[in-house]
């Protein structure tokens, strides 16, 4: 359990960081409660998710990952800075950032803000690793263009009937709920006719097809809804108010995710540099190592600013596209560097480590696509921050 000084830790995220560091460090005397997770990586995303959920359960049992979440949603108080600290300390201790928490950090604050009753019901289970969620935004006909979504939800008494399809859902293969942006208005209503709703995977009419990325891992999924009845109290925010909810959500998608990428990336850079230290580094790559390190520091510096703003209750808005651009640069740069430093072994090496770098390299390519493509981020800045003349529609 969290020590009796928990109130102090909740009040001060730096004190929490110090206590957490001591808790996560490998013990000298007694058995290591985190031994099953330290430096352990699983072959499939499904196994990895299950193991990571176990890690969340262990953290939850001690109260550690409840800090940073509101008491009404099963938390112990504190704010987003505590959560940022948690991911940092997990990496510092040789543990991983649990996969389910990547999605939780995006959807959790949104539920807490727009659907308190649902948050009280579902968030404690997610924090305990008993379930995890998928974010159902993209569709076959609408990737980054959210206003073009077609998956329909029609009101029928005290329920909605959902029909349509979602695509590119992270952790979709194993998630037990999908938090979806669906169309409650006409297609012509664009962003004004969208609503957000929580759909249980085990509802009649839901089917899931895992989508393997090129590494062979089922990182994504396609979800089909065939007249699925969803109780109206599963709505997140008002009917037709989904766009505003999604914009709120984007602040977290473009702030905590970058922070997690920076924390994990610095850990991976340490591994990579450790691998090549003492051997001859090809011409030019010493400088690349320095550049990638600097890119990770920049990413972290920027997302630290953004997270502090969120913690202070300031809106982040379209400026978060800056964080997203820094994320893509650091994430793709790190994995391209690994590819160059490992050389032939990256392509042909048979060890688990080489396999891991190859898998992560493929995943790193999503940094310029997920959560709004690199092009969308630039357009957001051009439109809403620089306020340049609008691009002409074709």
């Amino acid at each position: 359990m969290i020590p009796e000084t928990a109130a102090d830790l909740v009040a001060d995220h730096r004190a929490y960081a110090a206590a957490l560091r001591a808790h996560l460090a490998p013990p000298r005397q007694e058995a290591d409660r985190f031994a099953g997770w330290r430096g352990v990586r699983h072959r499939t995303t499904e196994e990895q998710c299950a193991a990571d959920a176990g890690l969340m359960g262990e953290l939850h049992a001690g109260g550690w990952n409840r800090v940073g979440w509101p008491a009404e949603a099963g938390g112990l108080g504190g704010d987003v800075r505590h959560r940022a600290v948690l991911y940092d300390e997990l990496i510092a201790a040789g543990l991983a950032i649990p996969l389910p928490s990547l999605v939780l950090e995006v959807l959790g604050p949104t539920l807490a803000r727009f659907a308190p009753a649902l948050a009280a019901e579902l968030l404690p289970r997610a924090l305990a690793g008993l379930e995890w969620w998928g974010q159902g935004f993209s569709e076959p006909e609408a990737g980054s263009d959210l206003a073009g979504l077609r998956c329909r939800a029609s009101r029928d008494g005290d329920a909605y009937v959902v029909s349509g399809q979602k695509l590119w859902t992270s952790l979709g293969a194993t998630a037990s709920r999908f938090i979806c942006l669906v169309r409650t208005g006409t297609v012509e209503s664009r962003h004004r006719g969208l609503s957000m709703i929580v759909i249980d995977r085990d509802s009649p009419g839901v089917s899931v097809r895992p989508v393997a990325i090129a590494s062979g891992r089922n990182e994504l999924a396609e979800i089909f809804f065939d007249d699925v009845r969803v109780s109206a109290d599963r709505l997140v925010g008002p009917e037709d108010g989904g766009w505003g909810v999604a914009m709120y959500l984007m602040q977290f998608e473009r702030s905590m995710y970058p922070w997690q990428v920076a924390a994990a990336g610095l850990g991976r850079l340490r591994d990579l540099v450790g691998t090549v230290r003492g051997s001859e580094v090809p011409d030019g790559l010493t400088t690349r190592i320095g550049e990638v390190y600097a890119d990770l520091v920049t990413l972290r510096a920027r997302s630290a600013q953004t997270i502090r703003r969120l913690a202070a209750g300031e809106p982040v808005g379209p400026e978060a596209a800056v964080d997203k651009i820094a994320t893509a640069r650091a994430e793709t740069g790190l994995h391209d560097l690994a590819r160059e430093l490992l050389g032939t072994d990256f392509v042909l090496g048979g060890s688990v480590r080489h396999e891991e770098w190859r898998e992560e390299w493929w995943y790193s390519r999503s940094a310029t696509i997920l959560g709004g493509s690199a092009e969308v981020q630039r357009t957001v800045l051009a439109d809403h921050v620089l306020r340049l003349p609008k691009e002409m529609a074709s």
């Binding site: 340490r270 320095g290 550049e291 920049t298 997270i307 651009i325």
Partner: protein, 303 residues
């Protein structure tokens, strides 16, 4: 982050922009009139970021950086600085000594040994006031600790980062205004996606540099961390000015290559600031070498 509130910061920024856009000769009296000493007293680091940001935006060239270094080194009045042999101007009447500063060493020379060895620079920036000190001038080692020296170099690098950010802000503002006004194919240049995305990238690079600079102000950290953080910040400023200037020159078309537009002033000013105390390339190589020899890949930015 600072003892100064947002409103004060905003009004100081406006006043500084006015002062630095004015005659550089009156700089110290103009700053005194502004009550600048009080701002510095309240928060030296924020004051430096504000002052050098304004100097960058004004594309002004002054000796202000010398004050950062001499304060950090505890040098007496009448000291000017040579940055790896570069002086930011001809020493004024009353100058007594020159501190020759490098990453790993500092030496001091009496002004009497310097005067004959100074050459005005004729370089990329046609309007520069910089001078070069002949390389045979070595001087006596300066009596400061390695830590003091490292902190002085780090403070100067942070100031230069702030200044490069300012130069980039001005360059981007020129590009936004030019591409909004200028029409081709019947519509503003800034309505073409290629142009919009280039300017958005420039904006993102500038904001990310500002964040890196803020994170580099880690006063209570070990000296090695302070030094590393400042290297990262100055490296970031260097990569940012390269990206911003490439895009800004491109979107200005041929106009950006002429003396008739001010674009060249931003390009050459940023280039000059990039070479002072380590270019972006030199600094990333140093960062890479340090990591390979066992330095920690420390996160620097805290939350």
């Amino acid at each position: 982050m600072t003892a100064l509130d947002a409103q004060t910061l905003a009004s100081v920024r406006v006043s500084l922009d006015e002062v630095l856009a004015g005659t550089p000769g009156d700089l110290s009296s103009a700053l005194a009139e502004l009550g600048w000493a009080d701002v510095v007293e309240a928060d030296r680091e924020t004051a430096a970021v504000l002052l050098f940001g304004a100097q960058g935006r004004a594309l002004a060239s002054t000796r202000l950086l010398d004050d950062v270094v001499t304060h950090a080194l505890g040098s007496p009045e009448g000291t000017v600085v040579a940055y790896a042999g570069i002086l930011l101007g001809r020493p004024e009447e009353g100058t007594e000594q020159v501190v020759v500063l490098d990453e790993n060493a500092a030496a001091v020379l009496p002004i009497t040994e310097v005067s004959g060895r100074l050459q005005p620079v004729r370089g990329f920036d046609r309007a520069t006031t910089w001078h070069r000190l002949d390389t045979t001038a070595s001087g006596e080692p300066l009596d400061v600790s390695a830590e003091t020296l490292a902190l002085a170099v780090a403070a100067a690098r942070r100031a230069l980062t702030a200044e490069i950010v300012g130069v980039c802000e001005t360059a981007l503002a020129m590009a936004v205004s030019h591409t909004t006004v200028r029409h081709q194919y019947g519509r503003p240049l800034a309505s073409f996606q290629a142009v919009r995305h280039a300017l958005a990238e420039a904006h993102a690079a500038i904001e990310n540099t500002r964040a890196t600079l803020e994170a580099a102000a880690v006063a209570d950290a070990p000296v090695a961390t302070v030094a590393r953080a400042a290297r990262v910040a100055k490296h970031r400023a260097g990569t940012t000015q390269a990206l911003v200037m490439r895009h800004v020159v491109q979107v200005h078309g041929a106009m950006g290559l002429t003396l008739e537009s001010d674009v060249h002033r931003a390009v050459t000013r940023a280039a000059a600031l990039d070479v002072l105390l380590g270019s972006s390339r030199e600094l990333s190589t140093r960062l890479g070498l340090d990591l390979l020899s066992g330095a920690p890949a420390e996160p620097i930015a805290a939350i």
